[in-house]
Structures are given as C-alpha cells and as structure tokens.
Symmetry: C3
C-alpha cells in the first residue's frame, strides 16, 4: 500500500504547493518550484536520512511528471476563488496525513524502533510544509507561538498507526485509520482552534 499512499500524498502536497504559491502571486516557475519543493521535500529528507538510494522521485519518474502537470495546470487557471487561503487547508491536511503514515511505515521497514519510526513520520509529514513556508518567507506553522495543532496531529496519527500494528491490526487498515485520524484531527483543530497550552514564562 505504501507506494499508493505516497503517490496520493505527492498529489495532495503538489495541489497545496500550487495554491500556496498562487496565494503569494508567484509566476509559473515560482508555482512549479514551490509545488516540487512541497511535494518532494518531506520524502526526500526521509530517504536521505534513512540512506535510501535512489530517492523515491528518481526511482519513479511518474512522480515528477505528475507534479509538473499539476503545477502547469494550476498556474494556468486564470482566476482562483478569492478565499484561497481557506482552500489551502484540505490538501495540506491530506498531505500531512498521508506523508506521516508513509514515513513511519518506511522507517519501520528499515527496522527502526517505534520512537524513531514516529520521528520519521513527523519529519516526512511536516517537512514539506515547513520548507514551503520558509521559501515563501512565512514563519513555519510548526513554530508559530500558538497555532492550531499541526505536528501534534502527525505525532498522534503515527502513534495510532504504530499502536494498531502492535495489537495485530493489518497494515492496510492501520494505515488508512491513521491517515483519517490525522486529517480529521487537523481539520478539527483548524475549525475549533484547538491549541496546546504554551508554557507561561
């Protein structure tokens, strides 16, 4: 299942990247660059840190063609709805959920411990969005003082995935349940402004 999940993750993240770049008024090449960075960033960091070669998008060329297609089509649509920033959240949440579970799953395949696998899930899930924010010169979501839960959703979903596998649930079911946990938790956090308490200093 991991290749399918990863392909869906790349598609979601590319859509998020296109919307993010367009909300900043970028040109065609800017839209393509941000789409590639957001769609490939997290998985690339995971592959480099786990020393997996070749990278997933070098091994399977369909990833690059898909992102290129989404970026070109997305940059060509003459006008997008005015409330664009609202529309960013769904593909962002889908990418977060899918990449987190894929990252934890691939780390497990390399026989890491559960804690390390959960870290790889969070890294893979959040890095694309973080680096997208950095290149767009935003303070990354992950590091703003008090924002709706983001990395927390990834972390919770990774542990749901790892826990379900430990108690004997099949891989495929565990993966889809964990993706649903992350996406729903993230959309709920945005809607109801769920935050973690910040330490008082």
């Amino acid at each position: 299942m991991l290749p399918l999940l990863q392909y869906l993750a790349v598609i979601s993240a590319a859509c998020f990247g296109v919307l993010l770049a367009r909300s900043k008024g970028m040109d065609l090449i800017g839209v393509c660059s941000v789409a590639f960075i957001v769609a490939f960033g997290g998985g690339t960091l995971r592959d480099v840190l786990l020393d997996r070669a070749p990278l997933f998008w070098v091994a399977g060329e369909h990833y690059a063609w898909t992102v290129l297609g989404i970026a070109v089509v997305g940059a060509s649509i003459p006008r997008l709805p005015a409330d664009l920033t609202k529309w960013l959240h769904l593909p962002d949440a889908l990418g977060l959920g899918l990449f987190s579970v894929v990252g934890a799953g691939i780390a497990l395949q390399q026989d890491t411990s559960l804690l390390i696998a959960s870290l790889f899930g969070v890294i893979t899930g959040t890095f694309g969005g973080v680096i997208g924010d950095i290149v767009c010169n935003e303070v990354p979501n992950l590091f703003r003082p008090v924002t709706p839960l983001y990395a927390t959703c990834s972390f919770a979903g990774c542990w749901a995935f790892l826990g379900l596998i430990q108690v004997g649930v099949g891989d495929t079911s565990a993966q889809w349940i964990a993706v649903a946990v992350i996406v729903l938790m993230r959309m709920g956090a945005l809607r109801y402004r769920w935050t973690l308490p910040a330490p008082r200093d």
Copy 2:
C-alpha cells in the same frame, strides 16, 4: 570537461558569496561562511540527493583552498565600489550557468531520465544562491513574486544542453553553449526586466 566546469562554477559562486556578504557588512568569518555556503551548497545537495560519496569538495581539496583564498582576499580588500549590488550579478549568473550544466551532466552520468536530469540541473544551479539569500535573510530571488527570470534561465539552459546532446552535438560543445544560453539569458533578464506573467487571482 565537467571537473573544469565545476571548478569555474565554484570560483564564480565564491566571488558572488564574498560580494553578497560584504554588501551586508559581514565580518571575515561571515564572508568565509557565505562564500563556502554559496560555492558548495548546490553541488553538495546534488551529491547528497544522488548518493554520491565522498562529496566533490571532500574528494578534491583544491575546492576548499580556492574558496578560502577568495574569501580571505575578498574580505581584506579595504573598499569595494559603492554600486556593489550591480557587480553581484555577473558572478551570480556565471555560477548559475556553470552549476546548472554540471548538475544536469552529472545526473545524466548516473542514468537518470531527461526530466530528472533537468531537475538536478536547476537544483544544482539555484540552490547555492537560494541558501545564500536565506542565510542573509533575504527572500530568495527564486520566490519573489515578480522578478527577472532566474530559475527559468537554468531550466531553459538545461533543456538546451539535453536537446543538443540528443541531436548528436558533442558533450563539450553542448555544455559551453548551454552555459552561454543561461548567462546571456540571465543578464538580459536583469537588463531588460524580463519576467514571467504571474497568474492573476
């Protein structure tokens, strides 16, 4: 030819890094740091992503000595012309052109497809400048809403290089023509303010 092109690319990028750091009023170590980051950044990312070990600047120590020399000399010159930012553009364009072609050429040597090779050309060509801008706290050129063509020049030059090789032009000729395309296109874009249209939202 690739080692020679890469050495020229490192020299150009180091000069750009020194001028960039000095235009920000940095001290000796700041100048050295930015010179190393700009000169080694793109090629390092390429080598890591292609899993080439050791890195080009670990394998050949002359790269590090050359950058160190340029940085120390460049930081010691007592005064630079007031219109320093204008002088940044030529070594930046040279580094962009040389690194793009070297990146695409090295990726091809590792049997990547043409699309992936062109992506490695753009990554290698632009990453040094992008990370230089980030450490100097600028919004990277690549991601400013409407700026003269930058990544586009790299992309066009990489495809010129790959196309020329496909139609049977010798490697060396194809490399130099592609470098010339990128450098001239970048200098033209700066002079005549060529931009891509930004999508209207």
Copy 3:
C-alpha cells in the same frame, strides 16, 4: 571518547533548544521540535555529508529518549527566570564546543584532510544553532553583521584540536582542551563583546 562527548553535546544542545523555544512562547510540540532540531541538526548534517549510515540518533536510541525527556520536562516547568535569554548562552556555548570537536574528530576518522576536518567541525558545531535560529525566524547568529565571535570560536577550537593531535598530544586531552578553548572563548566573546572587524565598504 567521541560517543561520550557527543552525548554531552546532545544534552547541552537540547537544553539550549528548550530555552530558545520557551523564550519565544512556544507550546509543548514546538519546544520538542526545536529541541530535536537543535540537538540533532549538526550531527545529522555531518553524518549525511560524510555518508555515514545509519545516523547517530538512529543507531543509538538513547539520544532520542534523552532529548524527548529534556523537552517534556523543560516544557512543563511552570515558570522560568525572566532573564531567560541570558541563560541561553551557556548550553549554547557547551553545545558549540562539544559538537565542533566531535565533528572534527569523526571527519578525521574518515581520513579527511585537516582543512576538511576543520570545516566539518564548524559545520557540526554551528548548524544546530543556525537552523534553530532559522525556524525561530531569527537572523542566524552566524550571519548578523557584527556579533560576538561564534563560528570563529568553533574554528579556533578545531584548529587547536587538530594542532594538538599533530604534535602528539593524546586524543582525549586534545579533545577536552579544545572544548574548553571554544567554550571559554565564546563566553569571553559574549561578556567582553569581542568581534571581528567588518570590512569597511
């Protein structure tokens, strides 16, 4: 000695990361994220650039548990002293010193030349702090126009370490002396505002 020095370095850097994140008012997950990034960043970059797999924190799980423990405890302390930024400097200086010496030592073990080993010392020592500053949206210490010596301390300490080994001093003594050089030089630079002259333009 290198594993012990590295473990102390991770502890120091994690404490610095916690204090840095709390001085920005971050929540629990933000504190954990910054602690992991600062504690693992430099060593991870070193391992990736030297193509050492698995990464030090994948090979030894005690690193991740230690950082997690420090972050959770550090985020739970209800109030920290008001002059928090002053307290940042000691763990930062310790992490700088320990990571620099570990980085140079591990590079040497891989038979790099002295210049390359010193570069790896500086990269390993400073990268965690630089990336911590970037995610907290500060201009990294390393690149502010005129600040008290930071990378310079790392550089001087690495050369002290390499020089002592060349003249026959034992590894352990050379390591501790170099760590002391870096920490004392950094604390002195902060206290007495030692800076390098910036080139006049």
